[in-house]
Amino acid sequence: MAPAVELRGITKRFPGVVANHDIDITVRRGTVHALVGENGAGKSTLMKILYGMQKPDEGTIGIDGEQVSFHSPADAIARNIGMVHQHFMLADNLTVLENIVLGGEKLHGIGGRARAEIVKISDRYGLGVRPDVLVEDLGVADRQRVEILKVLYRGARTLILDEPTAVLVPQEVDALFDNLRELKAEGLTVIFISHKLGEVLSVADDITVIRRGTTVASVVPGETTPKQLAELMVGSELPSPQTRESTVTDVRMLEVEGLRLVTADAEGVRRTVLDEVSLTIHKGEVLGIAGVEGNGQAELVEAIMGMRHPDSGTVTLDGTDISHAATRTRREDGIGYIPEDRHRHGLLLEAPLWENRILGHVTERPNAKGRLLDLKAARADTERIVTEYDVRTPGIEVTAASLSGGNQQKLIVGREMSHHPKLLIAAHPTRGVDVGAQAQIWDQIRTARREGLAVLLISADLDELIGLSDCLRVMYRGRLVADADPATITPEELGSAMTGAASGHLTASGEAAHQEPRPSQEGESE
């Protein structure tokens, strides 16, 4: 039997980012094939090539033993390849049925036949999709199943799932894996992209490891351990986000008290996104916020930054009430900000690096003297940041867009740290960043913490959270529902709390306990 997918010598060159070179992968039909690698290793690029979104510079793609050339996703779909993207592509205000038939109206019409087909597929693979529910009423896991159904509806026999578990909590992950096994049992092929080793080992039949854009190994789960897999992924050294000795002091740097924020969406539906959020971060302390994305973390950060105006509550920085201060004042007062989406909030992509160095600190030295810019000093300081923070660039006149993600992030970190913040807000600081840069950024956060910086860390990477934080809080539906000690908590227990299943103080046994602040961890008391 010819393999479902066979990639040979795939090479893709990209400006400034990790590209693919000499990729060889064979995916057997009727299996779950995992593609693992660190963030930025080139997995997503590879899948975009397979799905026809990008053309490889070299190499061949074979589908069911036949060599093909895809010019667009339509070609891939015609070859029964379907892709479920990391970010869902669903119209919120349409029903599940409408979303599924959208763009595929010719297949089974838009009425009864389509509905029957959807129900049939849903039943066969145990997806449990309800056709008439509005997508906006669905949770993340349900939406993902709709995406999968959408792909199956178009006749896919090979499914590509791009980091499907990134947005799920552990329990939902298990349900997803059950679905995948059903698909496999029906003879479908699943290509599963992930960097979470435990998951991969539990669901995959074959595993291909990608490092720095190329395939470094093909292994079978039964013959490998997570540690071996991890070492394959990152090379020999395993960077660890472990924080060693505690540097927490009892000086309160940031106090957030009773923050409440209600937003209205386009249809005027009001939603409480921040619900009585209170927290305190001391000098030298890293407070980690865990939670499935979209539970209010972004809003919390933006409220502290002054980009959103809470309906009630106070924010106090170093003893000064900044609840009503403008974003610029807060930055001047010593808040450093590593935004979640650096392209939208952290950089001017088409501006040179030195202008990006000014961004956010235009009123401060060395960027400005009085009301005028000090271009000479700003340029010189950009050179310093580039050197000190190891930003790999040929110069400071190049645009930010031409740097790789990791180097962009290093520039941002360097910029924020250069103004000696009292509080650093780091939202997903290592997302989409290569391994080398990740280790550097972790180092910088640790160093800053040792020097007495207070850090608010938001991350979807539970290992990062547990490794860097002095104290953990769990956010669920706009509330801080639980807290935990990173020294004892496991990712599974944290994941459980993220679904809202547990609250209060989480102990190592995973039981939800009473909300008693422990005297040793003052950071948690409010």
Binding site: R13, F14, P15, G16, V17, M305, G306, M307, A326, T327, R328, T329, R330, R331, E332, Y337, P339, D341, R344, H345, G346, L347, L348, L349, E350, A351, E355, I358, L359, G360, H361, V362, T363, A368, R371, L372, L373, L375, R392, T393, P394, G395, E397, V398, T399, A401, S402, L403
Partner: protein, 368 residues
């Protein structure tokens, strides 16, 4: 690094050259299609346009165009499309003319007063659009278009006998401003240059300085490049929208001044209209750059000056209009092409240089 700079320079020159060549080619084809000789047309234009009185005419004509382009460009740098420059300068010039016609102060007081009134009225008119955008979320494109019509209606109402205007033959106009308030001219032969040239140059320099050398300018450009990044960096985007609309309107207020203070001395039925729209074309042409826009305004003046002459050579009157349109299109397309090419080129170079560095360090490690 030097390589990048050289490329930048080449790319900087490439866009206008590409645009001019393309525009000439297209225009030639069009002229050929009308059965005429394009080369002869260009010769006529070049000859006539370089005459000394043509030069003066072109510069004088370019002054309001340049001011208009600056007003538009202030918005463009912010990603705001101020289509309302037209209405802003007209209503500004109208009320400035009313004030100027009603007073007889010494010129050194009255001229600045008239100009300030014009800038204030222009600001207010543009500011309405800014306020509506920030408070009600109405697109400035829509409000400024509407405000153009409202401005025309307001002027139409007041520009009647017995209101703010007087009748002069078949014209209505506001009372003439006293001769002490006439703007100075720069004596040249055969006709003098409009003294407002000095003002235009100063405003252009100010535009460049404020945008590139001040914190405020940096904030404004930041909003133009990425509103979300600007917000996160601490710029109050809303305040910036209002401020830049006010500035844009103030600059628009200047557009009518060369005419009011140097040509017509009143605002009448025959006061020029449409310069605000020409300004949009010139701002596009000059890529919002103060020097580029000056070149664009002069080019516009040149085309208008020499277009009339083409009519004497039996070319179609519309040829010049077509040329203007073609040039703007070519410039916009050429710049976008060159910009994208440059961005890709730069990314590739950065990638290559980093790869070269990496190989070097790898080798060093191996040998070590």
């Amino acid at each position: 690094m030097k390589k990048l700079d050289k490329n930048k320079l080449i790319l900087g020159v490439a866009a206008p050259v590409l645009a001019i060549v393309a525009a000439l080619a297209i225009t030639s084809v069009i002229i050929l299609a009308t059965g005429k000789d394009p080369i002869h047309a260009y010769t006529v234009m070049a000859d006539f346009g370089s005459k000394s009185d043509s030069q003066v005419w072109i510069v004088n004509k370019a002054i309001p165009y340049y001011l208009s382009a600056l007003a538009v460009a202030i918005g463009f740098r912010m990603n705001l499309f101020n289509i309302g420059v037209d209405g802003q300068y007209r209503i500004a010039a109208f009320f400035a003319a009313v004030v100027g016609g009603a007073l007889t102060l010494p010129g050194f007081l009255q001229i600045p007063l008239i100009i300030i009134v014009a800038m204030l009225v222009g600001s207010v008119w543009a500011g309405i659009a800014g306020l509506l955008k920030t408070t009600r979320g109405v697109s400035e494109v829509i409000t400024t278009i509407m405000l153009n019509s409202i401005a025309a209606a307001v002027i139409g109402y007041f520009l009647q006998e017995g209101r703010l205007a007087q009748k002069d033959g078949n014209l209505f106009h506001t009372p003439n401003i006293p001769s002490s308030s006439h703007f100075f001219t720069i004596p040249t032969t055969p006709k003098p240059l409009d003294g407002f040239l000095v003002v235009a140059v100063i405003v252009g320099a100010l535009y460049w300085f404020v945008l590139n050398r001040t914190r405020f300018g940096f904030d404004l450009r930041t909003v133009g490049q990425s509103e979300s990044a600007a917000e996160a960096s601490g710029v109050s985007v809303k305040r910036m929208v209002v401020t830049s609309m006010l500035l844009s309107g103030a600059a628009a207020g200047l557009i009518g001044m060369p005419t009011l203070l140097g040509v017509s001395y009143n605002y009448g039925t025959d006061f020029p209209i449409g310069i605000g729209f020409t300004g949009i074309a010139i701002a596009l042409l000059g890529r919002n750059h103060p020097v580029g826009m000056a070149a664009g305004a002069l080019l516009w003046g040149f085309l208008e000056r020499t277009g009339t002459q083409l009519e004497f050579e039996d070319y179609q009157q519309e040829i010049v209009g077509v040329m203007q349109g073609v040039i703007v299109l070519c410039v916009v397309i050429a710049y976008e092409l060159v910009r994208r090419y440059g961005l890709r080129l730069q990314q590739r170079q950065v990638g290559e240089e980093l790869a070269a560095q990496a190989r070097k360090t790898d080798k060093a490690e191996v040998s070590a």
